[in-house]
């Protein structure tokens, strides 16, 4: 089973996405901030990281940058959740190693479709 690490400062969002993903057959672990996510990373060894862009403390771009420094996660896909108005941040995210982005609010079917694309064989 593929493991997803979800990072967002909103617990509501985390819970709803977790529910969608678990229903689709993924194992989901959540973190409410960049620092917490980094702590969980090495023991969890997720197959994909989905993080919000704006979070108190470490933001999503810095988180992806930090994660990609670890050779264990050099090939791990990482998605950034942005709102329509944050389009310019996408290039920045791409530059630090993000695979792509999800537009908030994330539609359940879109989320599942993207994961299916990025995590083959699940």
């Amino acid at each position: 089973m593929k493991t997803v690490l979800l990072v967002d400062d909103s617990t509501t969002l985390l819970m709803s996405m977790k529910a969608i993903l678990e229903k689709s057959g993924y194992a989901v672990e959540t973190a409410t901030g960049g620092d917490a996510a980094l702590k969980k990373l090495t023991t969890l060894k997720p197959n994909i990281l989905i993080t919000d862009l704006n979070m108190p403390g470490m933001d999503g771009i810095t988180l992806i940058k930090e994660v990609k420094k670890n050779p264990l996660f050099r090939f791990m896909p990482a998605l950034m959740m942005t709102t329509e108005s944050q389009q310019e941040k996408r290039n920045e995210a791409r530059a630090v190693g993000a695979t792509g982005w999800l537009v908030k609010p994330v539609k359940p079917e879109e989320l599942v479709a993207v994961l299916k694309k990025l995590l083959p064989g699940a």
């Binding site: 090939f75 896909p77 993000a98 695979t99 792509g100 982005w101 299916k116 990025l118």
Partner: protein
């Protein structure tokens, strides 16, 4: 910065294409409109565009070569005629790309202002194209041309569709005809570092449902060797899917900059007038394999292996490996050379003559193998002189244009081979010589006509092999060198006294142009520099163990001849002993050696000693005197003599004795000895001792007779 092997490959191939396209353009100038040549140039731009496309950071190259390719396409289709102005433009584009490739090789990236550098070229290309298309639209208004600066990836896709197997085309066409479904062709070229972005390109492609056709190919022809980097993406996916364009676009949403899409229509299978004859795949072997046995790149080389006469297969080999192999072969030769010592020791010290014989026999076998090994290793380093010649068509064209002179360049013997180091170092002296010819030798067209010569001058670059030397000549049919003027100038500059100038014959006099600080032209031009040319050429060539000779007939031309050793790595030397030291004399210089010469054969003529050899009296020098040794410098009774040929003249050198002839690896001198004129290098002999190799030309130069 260390380039990835993929980028290195790109630089190598890119350079080849720049060279091929440039020489094609020059060919076109001569033979009007040869469609094969035009196609070749088009292909080079096409490939440059295509391969640069997988490196998003090299977008400037892709953009520029794409514009050049589009314009070249119009020429290919006969819509535009290529003229001298366009040739200049294309050459300038190739120069720009060449500079960028060099920058990439050095720093790993394009210059920051790359786009600014090429802006002028780009707008020139685009405006030329627009002018041409404007004309075309008015004349053939009916043809629908959708080539509005289309993106390069899309063109690749069109090309691919056109090249499909007839059966594939037919089935796609019939599918288009019958179904009310839409079909989409796509070309997906992931960026080389896409894995590190978490992309798995094949997985995206797999997500596309109902793929009718799929072709996965390598973008650059990378060998599966020790340098293979599994995490650099080098694949291109071309496919046709039974889906509409928006569905496919959505799947590749995150990588939209790496994909091009086309809604399939029957029109896509109809080639534009003249059919596109080209290959999208990159050729494994270079077009002119014999020109490329080792590429000029620092990092890599190409080695030719003949695979059954018909087709040469090439593998790229890191030049470091070849150098290491050469070094090892050298060590092996040294080790092998110690066997004769061992034979002697076994016989005389250990009193085991049988063992000595056996070692001697084994020595023979090892000798045989090692010489085969040595020859193969040397062959791997051999390059055709074409490598050093290839820049000249361009150089002669540009400079003669600048000087308003008409010059035709003839090159012969381009396939003459020599060691890579020799070929590489040949370039600069040749540039000096050719520039000198263009600048000083060749007259202006009016001067030539006045002198009753053809308006167009001829410069000949000629190479041929002479025993173990490679001879390269630069000849022109210009005004030649006036020995009288040379004499005057040399006296004026204090290079020689007027007495010696008067006693010199013409042939000797013109050699004076190679003396340091000599220049025959008072006018300084930006082409040949400040007349420092010839002595620089002389120094470069002699540092390679070669020589330069000038020939001239005033009024009808001059010829400069460079003679260089074909290979510098391993040479045969004769080991001589003098005052207890050993020296090596290059065996190529040695004509004859004599042991135990009787004093009676030495005659003194005009106070100088001479040695009678086969009825001829040769000047006799003493090695101890020539090398300015301390101690007893007299020629001892029962001395040995070596007859050497220096600049075509035979002289005898007296030495105490000599040992055998040996194959040695000559190492260049380092440090303080580097500047020592008498020595060419040093070597380690079989017994482990170090011996200097003599530069006989220098040793004899100051005739210090005893």
């Amino acid at each position: 910065m260390q380039l990835s092997s993929l980028a290195t490959q790109f630089v190598l191939e890119g350079r080849d294409h720049c060279e091929m396209a440039a020489s094609g353009l020059l060919d076109l100038e001569k033979h009007s409109h040869d469609p094969d040549v035009v196609n070749g140039i088009f292909r080079s731009f096409h490939t440059l565009k295509g391969t640069s496309g997988i490196f998003p950071e090299y977008l400037s190259i892709t953009t520029l070569t794409h514009a050049a390719e589009s314009l070249m396409d119009l020429i290919r289709n006969g819509k535009v005629n290529i003229d001298s102005e366009l040739t200049d433009l294309f050459l300038a584009v190739l120069d720009q790309v060449g500079l960028w490739l060099e920058h990439i090789e050095k720093s790993g990236a394009l210059p920051v202002a790359a786009d600014n550098e090429s802006a002028g070229l780009l707008s020139a290309l685009i405006s030329k194209k627009e002018i041409a298309e404007g004309k075309q639209e008015s004349s053939v208004a009916a043809t629908v041309t959708e080539t509005v600066v289309s993106n390069p990836l899309e063109e690749q896709l069109r090309d691919w569709l056109l090249q499909l197997e007839p059966a594939s085309k037919a089935s796609l066409l019939s599918a288009l005809d019958s179904a009310d479904k839409s079909f989409t062709a796509f070309c997906y070229t992931p960026v080389s570092d896409s894995f590190f972005f978490g992309d798995d390109p094949v997985s995206l492609v797999h997500t596309v449902e109902e793929l009718l056709l799929l072709e996965v190919s390598k973008v650059l022809e990378v060998q599966f060797d020790l340098d293979y980097d599994p995490f650099v993406c080098n694949l291109r996916f071309m496919a046709v899917a039974a889906a509409d364009i928006e569905t496919v676009r959505e799947i590749f949403g995150y990588v939209e900059d790496q994909i091009s899409l086309l809604a399939l229509t029957p029109q896509l299978f109809i080639p534009e007038s003249p059919p596109v004859i080209e290959e999208t795949k990159i050729q494994t072997a270079p077009e002119k394999p014999e020109n490329l046995q080792i590429s000029s790149s620092q990092e890599q080389g190409v080695t030719a292996v003949d695979a059954g006469g018909k087709k040469n297969t090439y593998i790229r080999v890191d030049q470091e490996h070849i150098n290491t192999l050469m070094d090892l072969v050298g060590e092996m030769i040294i080790a092998k050379n110690s066997l004769p010592y061992l034979v002697r020791r076994a016989a005389s010290f250990y009193k085991a003559p049988d063992l000595a014989d056996e070692i001697d026999m084994k020595h023979g076998t090892i000798n045989y193998i090692v010489s085969g090994l040595q020859e193969t290793a040397m062959q791997m380093r051999m390059l055709p002189v074409a490598r050093a010649f290839e820049r000249f068509p361009r150089l002669v064209r540009d400079i003669s244009k600048k000087l308003d002179k008409k010059v035709r360049l003839i090159m012969t013997g381009e396939d003459t081979q020599a060691d890579k180091d020799v070929i590489d170092m040949l370039g600069d002296p040749l540039i000096h010589l050719v520039r000198n010819s263009l600048d000083h030798g060749v007259e202006t067209p009016s001067e030539r006509l006045a002198a009753g010569k053809a308006e167009e001058a001829v410069i000949t670059l000629r190479a041929f092999q002479d025993k173990s030397d490679i001879v390269v000549e630069v000849e022109d049919d210009g005004r030649g060198i006036d020995p009288e003027r040379i004499r005057m100038k040399a006296v004026e500059k204090g290079i020689i006294t007027s007495d010696s100038a008067a006693s010199m014959n013409d042939e000797e006099a013109i050699q004076l142009i190679m003396a340091a600080g000599f220049s025959t032209n008072d006018v300084v031009t930006d082409l040949s520099g400040r007349g420092v040319g010839m002595d620089v050429v002389m120094n470069m060539v002699t540092s390679l163990g070669g020589s330069v000779r000038a020939f001239s007939t005033p009024g009808s031309g001059s010829r400069m001849r460079l003679t260089l050793p074909m290979s510098m790595a391993i040479s045969k030397i004769l080991i001589v002993c003098q005052n207890g030291c050993t020296y090596g004399i290059p065996a190529d210089d040695v004509m004859e050696s004599m042991i135990n010469v009787h004093k009676s054969r030495v005659t003194t003529v005009n106070g100088y000693p001479g040695l009678e050899v086969r009825g001829e009296l040769l000047p006799l020098y003493s090695l101890s005197v020539q090398l300015e040794m301390s101690g007893d410098r007299s020629i001892k009774p029962g001395f040995s003599a070596v007859v050497v040929k220096i600049k075509g003249e035979a002289v005898a050198i007296a030495v105490d004795s000599f040992q055998d002839i040996s194959d040695v690896v000559v190492k260049p001198l380092a440090g303080m000895l580097q500047k020592h004129p008498y020595y060419n290098g040093s070597t380690i002999l079989g017994d482990g001792s170090i011996t200097f190799i003599l530069n006989m030309q220098e040793v004899i130069k100051n005739a210090n007779h005893p």
